[in-house]
């Protein structure tokens, strides 16, 4: 755990601390001094607006705000209008009296330059009054945000259709709406010395294992970075083994998934600016489960789960198995099939390993091209890909038809994994296992699998073994892995139970 205390960007954070010291000078009671200090800080910021005016034609006042993040309409209506029209003539102007004039509950007293700059940065308008060393900020920021839509990366046939958005407050409200309980706790923190990203740690008090919670808090607090732009930044900082191809945090766009996991004693990390919420601690099997498993019939879910397990293994092993069998263990293939494979491979110049590598790499390239391109062009890519790889390459004698079938099956198998990030492991690990199978046949394949199992056995997600409840085993929790446990039998609140073993 040393790596969390060893700061990578020490210099940057200490530099920003110095800056903070300079900024923490208190505000002056002279308005023009304050104005000059703020103008110096917001030098070259075209969207910072300084709006000077007079209250009761005698006291100078100043409104400072970011015109791009501030709701100016509301500002005019709720702050400026009362001050100009309704301020009692007989009273001297003072900050403490503003509460009785301005109809806004979200206000904050600002005492230092640092606070003032922070408030303006996040879009709060700042009101300064001559003769007062306290300024006031109002909660009138307005961000442009997209409305709640159906999550595009995780769709279900049956189940709720709302997905998270880029706004942390909307996301938290989506969770609160489902878990109407004060036990749902939210811890806020600000990470990133430059981006100052708002991050929320959500958990259910009483269900969450306190030791895991402490560990999560400690890891989040030890992040030392200048920027958090997506939850994957956080994921890399707080993973147990960031170098493992297996994700140790689940990312989801669905509030129902987050709620289900909170109820099972996990915690969620919500990062402002991204619809992807992180969930931990997880195990390998959470990667292979879809929320819909719990929304459809028990037997169907059990069947689909097993189908997924089998196809997960296929997506990892099928090309290697084909290479091993055709190169080393031809006797295993039934004679008729062997003949047709031999006939197909007769005019192929490459050994099976090279053939498989060419095809797998071509497939991965096609897939990547299809994702990154605009939708209109994406269709063209798949047509060209199908023509070249499926048809032309076979008739030109570069790859054999059975290999095309193997690669296509592997591709479909990898699409069966409901979590995109979990599919990455099988996509990447396929290649080393293929090489091993090409060198040592089925024995190489088995050795590769053994190394993989060793890695999975050693891997932990926030202290929870990655292969639990399989090993270390817990027969109660295993029910929901080998089948989909019926609703009246689900064992919630059991994540922590395998931690100590």
């Amino acid at each position: 755990m040393n790596k969390y205390t060893l700061g990578k960007k020490k210099s940057l954070s200490s530099r920003s601390k110095e800056q903070n010291d300079k900024l923490s000078t208190p505000l002056s009671s002279d308005l023009s001094t304050n104005e000059q200090m703020l103008k110096a800080e917001f030098h070259n910021n075209a969207d910072v607006t300084f709006h000077p005016f007079q209250i009761n034609h005698q006291t100078d006042a100043l409104l400072v705000y970011l015109s791009t993040l501030c709701d100016t309409e509301q500002l005019d209506h709720l702050v400026l209008a009362p001050l100009l029209n309704r301020y009692p003539d007989n009273l001297p102007v003072h900050v403490s009296r503003l509460r009785n004039v301005i109809p806004l509950s979200k206000t904050q007293d600002i005492l230092s330059l640092h606070q003032a700059v922070t408030a303006i940065n996040i879009g709060l308008p700042l009101l300064l009054i001559d003769g007062s060393d306290t300024a006031v900020s109002y909660g009138l920021q307005k961000y442009e945000q997209r409305s709640i839509e159906e999550p595009s990366a995780e769709s279900t046939v049956r189940g709720p259709r709302d997905g998270f958005t880029e706004s942390i407050s909307v996301n938290i409200s989506l969770i609160r709406k489902r878990l109407k309980n004060h036990k749902l706790k939210l811890l806020n923190m600000e990470i990133g010395t430059v981006t100052k990203t708002n991050i929320g740690l959500v958990y259910l008090d009483g269900i969450m294992d306190p030791a895991i919670l402490e560990e999560a808090k400690r890891r989040l607090a030890s992040i030392e970075t200048d920027s958090i732009l997506e939850s994957s930044y956080v994921e890399e900082w707080i993973s147990d083994e960031p170098l493992s191809p297996f994700p140790q945090l689940l990312s989801t766009e669905r509030p129902d998934v987050v709620c289900a996991n909170l109820l099972e004693g996990r915690f969620a990390v919500i990062v402002d600016g991204t619809p992807f919420v992180l969930i931990a601690p997880i195990n390998l099997f959470s990667m292979l489960q879809s929320p819909e498993d719990y929304y459809q019939h028990i037997w169907m879910s059990t069947f689909v789960r097993w189908l997924r397990y089998v196809f997960f293994l296929l997506s990892l092993l099928l090309p290697s198995f084909y290479i091993a069998i055709t190169t080393y263990h031809q006797e295993m293939i039934p004679t008729v099939l062997l003949l047709s494979i031999a006939k197909a491979r007769e005019e192929i110049p490459f050994p099976a390993l090279v053939e498989a590598l060419i095809m797998e790499i071509a497939f991965e390239a096609l897939r990547e091209a299809g994702i990154r391109l605009p939708k209109q062009v994406g269709a063209a890519v798949s047509i060209v890909g199908a023509l070249i790889i499926g048809q032309a390459a076979t008739s030109a004698g570069i790859v054999s038809a059975p290999m095309v079938i193997v690669v296509a099956t592997t591709g479909i198998a990898s699409f069966m994994i409901p979590r995109y990030s979990a599919g990455i492991a099988s996509r990447l690990l396929r290649f080393p296992i293929m090489l091993l199978a090409g060198v040592l046949g089925l024995i190489g394949l088995m050795l590769g699998m053994i190394v993989l199992v060793i890695h999975l056995c050693a891997l932990r997600s926030f202290g929870i073994p990655y292969l639990s409840p399989l090993s270390p085993s817990s027969s109660k929790l295993l029910t929901d892995v080998l089948s989909r446990a019926p609703a009246w039998k689900t064992n919630r609140n059991k994540v922590g139970s395998t931690r100590r073993r």
């Binding site: 080393y328 024995i443 050693a458």
Partner: protein, 380 residues
């Protein structure tokens, strides 16, 4: 008595493995540790001596396993926090104990070498005839070294997973063979009395004495009160597996069993599912590798841990790779060819392992028990 407790306390402080396994994991580890290599060559050896009574031999042999287990638990009762290497120092004093430990530091790489060599020869002969033995041996030892480096917890968990696969597949295999079995081969039972089956039990018995490894692993079990019960179950499972294996070999090949070196592999060739799935030997070997992997891992682990304890080091992880390499060297040193291995198993190896894995620890336990009693009487 005071001296004892002090020494024992210091033994607690220098515990070099921080991980713990459960009693269930311990008993599961022992299953492939005994079965993985015995399933290959033992049926043939047993057939030679016991004839059609070969299925009885594992039952007699299990008595040796129970004895080893009893010795291991006896030692662990005297010194619950110490492995065999540590308790030998506590019982025999510094010089005697270190000398006793040295014996095991020489024996463990030797037996590990034999196991790895058997694995290598088997793979070369039955799956990869053109691959150099070195590549096969080194790839396996490397994988095991990675496992051992990850600590006893990971060794326990990988064992749990692979044993499940191993047993499921073995059961599946035997079910598929039912069609070809001829149960009448069992007759006549006890034609020449019990002597042949007793003689046939020497070889499996030698394998059963590997249960003394419990003496090295018991200090790392977190639920000790379950250990005895689970270990007994483990011996039962191994005995049953051996009996079933011998039954299958006997019913399938009869008297011919001893003419094959690896009768179980011959049995695998009989499998044919709907004339489509045939010649499954390669898959059988691949699954068997999972078992031998657990066995080699546990032997390398015990060897590394013993060395670290003997040298009184604080950690053992850095020793894993060099000591695994030592085991590879022993692989070449123990035998020059496959025939050497067979000769070794058929003759001296059994006595050798029984002496080191059963007789010597028993003597150690005896000395410890006498010494303990004597001290108690003096202090009373």
């Amino acid at each position: 008595m005071v001296v004892y407790t002090n020494l024992e306390m210091s033994g607690v402080d220098v515990m070099i493995e921080h991980g713990k396994i459960s009693a269930a994991q311990l008993s599961i580890i022992m299953v492939p540790t005994v079965l993985a290599t015995s399933i290959l060559s033992v049926p043939s050896i047993t057939m030679t001596y016991a004839g059609q009574d070969m299925w009885l031999s594992p039952i007699w042999a299990s008595i040796l396993g129970l004895m080893s287990m009893w010795v291991a638990f006896g030692l662990s009762k005297l010194y619950p926090k110490s492995t065999l290497i540590e308790s030998s120092v506590l019982i025999l004093g510094k010089w005697g104990g270190k000398l006793f430990g040295l014996l095991y530091l020489l024996f463990l790489p030797h037996i590990t070498g034999v196991i790895i060599r058997q694995y290598g020869e088997f793979i070369v002969r039955s799956a990869l005839p053109q691959t150099p033995l070195f590549a096969i041996v080194v790839s396996m030892v490397l994988v095991c070294a990675i496992n051992v480096r990850s600590g006893i917890e990971v060794v326990g968990r990988t064992a749990q997973i692979f044993v499940a696969i191993f047993i499921l597949f073995a059961a599946f295999l035997f079910v598929l063979l039912i069609r070809d079995l001829h149960p009448e081969q069992i007759l006549p039972i006890g034609e020449a009395g019990l002597l042949p089956s007793l003689r046939g039990s020497v070889a499996p018995g030698a394998w059963f004495t590997e249960y003394i490894l419990l003496a090295f692993l018991l200090p790392y079990v977190h639920d000790r009160h379950k250990a005895l019960h689970k270990s007994l179950l483990s011996i039962l499972a191994v005995t049953l597996s051996m009996v079933i294996t011998n039954f299958v070999c006997l019913f399938l090949m009869g008297d011919l069993t001893d003419s094959f070196q690896y009768p179980v592999m011959i049995a695998a060739r009989y499998i044919s599912i709907a004339d489509f799935m045939q010649h499954l030997e390669a898959i059988v070997i691949a699954i068997w590798i999972a078992g031998i992997f657990v066995k080699i891992s546990i032997f390398i682990y015990v060897f590394t841990l013993s060395t670290a304890e003997w040298l009184e080091l604080k950690a053992y992880r850095s020793l894993v790779l060099p000591l695994s390499f030592v085991c590879v060297i022993f692989t070449y040193w123990v035998a020059t060819s496959q025939t050497d291995i067979v000769k070794l198993y058929g003759t001296s190896a059994n006595v050798y392992t029984i002496v080191l894995l059963l007789v010597m620890p028993s003597l150690l336990l005896l000395t410890g028990a006498i010494k303990n009693k004597w001290f108690k009487r003096r202090s009373a």
